[in-house]
Symmetry: C2
Subunit: 259 residues, 2 copies
DNA sequence: AGAATAGTGTCTTTCAGACACTATTTG
DNA sequence: CAAATAGTGTCTGAAAGACACTATTCT
């Protein structure tokens, strides 16, 4: 079925492209890393960029638009450019959420490109394998991830803000951990993402008192810590989707905001 | 400057259109209202919908894409379809923020349309004047805003979630109020948006103790309440962008979440 | 006068953070 | 044994909610 376009035919304008870009975060060697690709093509050939690409569109013979959802496009591009396939293997617990949409007219010199940015979190993931438009795909410590192509520095900064903030009031930290984890591992995730040390004892009491955050498996680690200490209890992610009470960042509350 | 499209020409696919849709919320007669337009054209002719329309794209003669930002498109469509011009008059304090992007392949039967949804809050606003693609433009109580065109029911529901949540940890409520307001007016905004009654005394103490939320003007209302009571102090919005401590919704914390 | 509202005082409970302490395990 | 870590107990202060109360202004 074809309809008139409300007296407004977008095809009378210059075309728009819609892309998805993925900010995939993980923790490696006690540091937060982001997944980047090296661009093989102009513009920004040779520069590092977030993995991403064009959303595919198609129509049925009768004109009905079909094609992939935005979420599906994000997962497809992630798989194509980096070889990381969500849904099975180490990425079966990958958390994916929409971050925001970036549409400055000149953000891509080729044409008008609107990019829907996604945020993905996962436990320590395998090394990526470049494919598609990517000449290389690597995990980069976030401190070293600067000078990216397009407006990807901005997108990455927004993603980090979002991630740090969501740790406070959602069980997001469990998405960075393996299926069974110790409280010390969760604490390390908070400390790494927030970049602040947390008090072990208070953190332990706090996290165990939030209903639905973590569930005791009844089992413990095989060994204590490498440098001593008792075996730690193992937990699984609980069913809560929001934390009550929240785990607020220390320092984040300015003592007195002038005026 | 023209570049190759990474061996991937989006023009080889069916075209995509990008629209913006605006969820404009305000409080009228102690009830939350959303701004809706009646569609003049197919599809969904005659149905109520969120105001919105196509993002304009253009290129310079040398190929560089120019045109309006997504934010600008949202404000332009709001003005065109409803006659509400932000930036001056009663809408000079309009708060606008991106909500999310909706791209289900079949959300528009005409073609693939990706819609960037915006959330706008303002104090009691004038009656809208229909224009552009809209046959009518009206403020509708949110309870009556159902059966909207496209996926606009979903967008509206997401917008309400976001608005209720942002009241907790941002000074958003002041965006619904006039430049100078009483604490009772702010309380009424919280009660209306959250749909729960709040304790006047505790609310008063809480809101005045959050640094940077509201600033005492030193003046008071000309008259007390219509049914008696002393004159209330007048406040202005403060400079804080985040509330510490937050004003959490009552009830929102489930006492015990099983497992 | 009577009703309604603004704003404050106080008490209890909950939670965050500081700190101390015990128990367990590793090298 | 010494060092490190898991987990708990206790105290203090901040803040939320319940409730009472005073002062002010309206009809």
């Amino acid at each position: 079925m074809e309809y008139a376009m409300d007296g407004y035919d977008p095809r009378a304008f210059d075309p728009v492209a819609v892309t998805v870009d993925i900010v995939a975060l993980t923790i490696r060697d006690a540091a937060l890393h982001v997944l980047l690709v090296e661009r093989a093509e102009m513009p920004y050939a040779g520069r590092l960029a977030l993995p991403g690409g064009f959303v595919r569109t198609r129509r049925d013979p009768d004109g009905t638009p079909v094609g992939e959802t935005l979420d599906a496009a994000a997962l497809r591009e992630l798989a194509e450019e980096t070889g990381l396939h969500a849904g099975h293997g180490p990425l079966r617990r990958l958390h994916l959420e929409q971050l925001g949409t970036y549409g400055e007219p000149a953000r891509d010199p080729r044409m008008r490109v609107i990019s829907v940015a996604y945020l993905a979190f996962g436990p320590a993931m395998p090394d990526p394998v470049a494919g598609g438009d990517a000449a290389a795909a690597i995990w980069v410590p976030i401190d070293a991830a600067t000078g990216l192509a397009f407006d990807h520095d901005t997108i990455l900064a927004d993603a980090l803000d979002r991630a740090r903030s969501k740790l406070e009031y959602t069980p997001l930290a469990t998405a960075f951990a393996r299926p069974e984890f110790t409280i010390a591992e969760i604490r390390a995730i908070y400390e790494t993402v927030w970049g602040v040390p947390l008090h072990a004892g208070n953190f332990h009491r706090k996290i165990t008192s939030v209903p639905g955050f973590i569930v005791d498996t009844g089992t413990s680690t095989e060994r204590g810590g490498d440098r001593g200490g008792p075996r730690a209890r193992l937990y699984r992610a609980g069913s809560a989707r929001l934390l009550h009470p929240a785990l607020l960042r220390p320092e984040s509350s300015p003592k007195r905001a002038g005026s």
